[in-house]
């Protein structure tokens, strides 16, 4: 019997990091670990480690994290080809 059953998979759409134009870069020296970037990441692409850890395989580069960071610890840099 065949019906449309799908299974939970990371990278179901592949490595969505390839969509990115701007790359968020965290400056750990500025980070106050408020975890705003983690809670607001639309992609679940920021993990809670010692500092927020951005998974560039999946980060789509929306920049919400940088925009919400209260201490400007995240910089958006244009991706190089």
């Amino acid at each position: 019997m065949k019906t449309t059953i799908s299974y939970p998979t990371k990278e179901a759409m592949g490595k969505t990091g390839s969509w990115r134009v701007f790359r968020p870069v965290l400056h750990e020296d500025k980070c106050i670990k408020c975890w705003m970037c983690w809670v607001f990441c639309p992609e679940s692409a920021i993990r809670k480690e010692e500092f927020p850890k951005i998974d560039y395989d999946f980060c789509k580069g929306c920049g919400v994290c940088a925009n919400e960071c209260p201490v400007n610890a995240i910089e958006m840099r244009r991706e190089e080809k």
């Binding site: 998979t9 990371k10 929306c62 920049g63 925009n67």
Partner: protein
């Protein structure tokens, strides 16, 4: 209230999904599912959330999820809940996760039916104020003056108030929230999970391509909606109406809201508003705050 750092780390919206960059829906769903946990069954009508899951045979949602026709989310939730109850699985939370098109418009009948017949579930309408998935058409939730691809010169009518309609069903819990206030949203979802019976929640979800703003501003836009009083956050519980965050002061008249122009002018969809339109929007907002001020005194 739980601190951001203490929110659960479990993720039920997996990375590498099909959401647009800066999508408010995944922000909202991540937080709601953190509150509800793994023992949740979700039903999703036609909407952006059907797309976000990604393509068969893979899915980016890590709780059991039923996709269902546009108008049928609440009705399918009634079925899921009945089947769970029949099997003695009353500890599983049933979540209907629908957009404003599927809630305000095509799914309103089924929603009303499920609320009235006491289905034990949480219905969440993530409200991006239009049909985003089909490419930005007007819905019953689109505000006055907003450009959409079916209101090229701006919508001529005000949006309806679905949370009010939900309250009119005498259900135990109605709450509105904003993705910009994740701990408030988390707390509300957690509370909804503990209450038996129908729960209605609505989350403002600013859509970058639909509202025409930069994708980095999703949360800022949701915050500004609250700070300007364009969106009110409240809970209606056991007949008691409580306002949360900045909405409390705005409704009570003790807090001066930010000028709504700040919010309107950040969005391309309001680019063609006239001064007259803006004055009308301001009057309408004031009228709304006044209505709720009186209402919260009644209850």
């Amino acid at each position: 209230m739980v601190a951001i750092k203490d929110l659960p780390e479990e993720e039920y919206v997996l990375e590498g999904n099909a959401a647009c960059p800066g999508c408010p829906i995944t922000i909202a769903l991540r937080t709601v599912l953190k509150a509800l946990g793994k023992d949740t069954i979700m039903t999703v009508p036609a909407s952006c959330s059907a797309v976000i899951q990604s393509l068969y045979p893979k899915t980016s949602f890590a709780v059991p999820t039923l996709n269902i026709a546009f108008e049928a989310a609440a009705a399918s939730a009634s079925g899921i809940e009945a089947a769970l109850h029949a099997q003695g699985k009353d500890d599983v939370t049933v979540l209907a996760w629908a957009g404003d098109g599927g809630s305000y418009d095509i799914g309103l009948q089924a929603l009303s039916g499920a609320l009235e017949r006491g289905t034990n579930f949480i219905y969440v309408c993530y409200n991006n104020q239009m049909y985003s998935n089909t490419g930005v058409q007007r819905s019953g939730a689109t505000p006055y003056g907003a450009w959409t691809t079916t209101t090229w010169t701006g919508k001529k009518e005000r949006q309806k108030n679905l949370a009010e309609i939900a309250m009119a069903h005498n259900i135990p819990y109605v709450a509105t929230a904003s993705i910009a206030y994740p701990t408030d949203l988390y707390r509300k979802a957690k509370k909804a999970k503990e209450i038996k019976g129908p729960k209605y929640m609505e989350i403002i979800a600013p859509c970058p391509p639909g509202w025409r703003f930069d994708m980095s501003k999703t949360v800022e836009m949701a915050k500004l909606a609250v700070e300007t009083g364009a969106w009110l956050m409240y809970e209606f519980e056991n007949g008691k109406l409580t306002f949360n965050g900045p909405s409390k002061g705005i409704v009570e008249g003790s807090r001066e809201p930010k000028p709504v122009e700040d919010w309107l002018k950040m969005q391309g969809r309001f680019r063609n508003l006239t001064e007259e339109d803006i004055q009308k929007i301001k009057r309408d907002l004031k009228e709304g705050w006044e209505f709720y001020r009186k209402k919260s005194q009644l209850f």
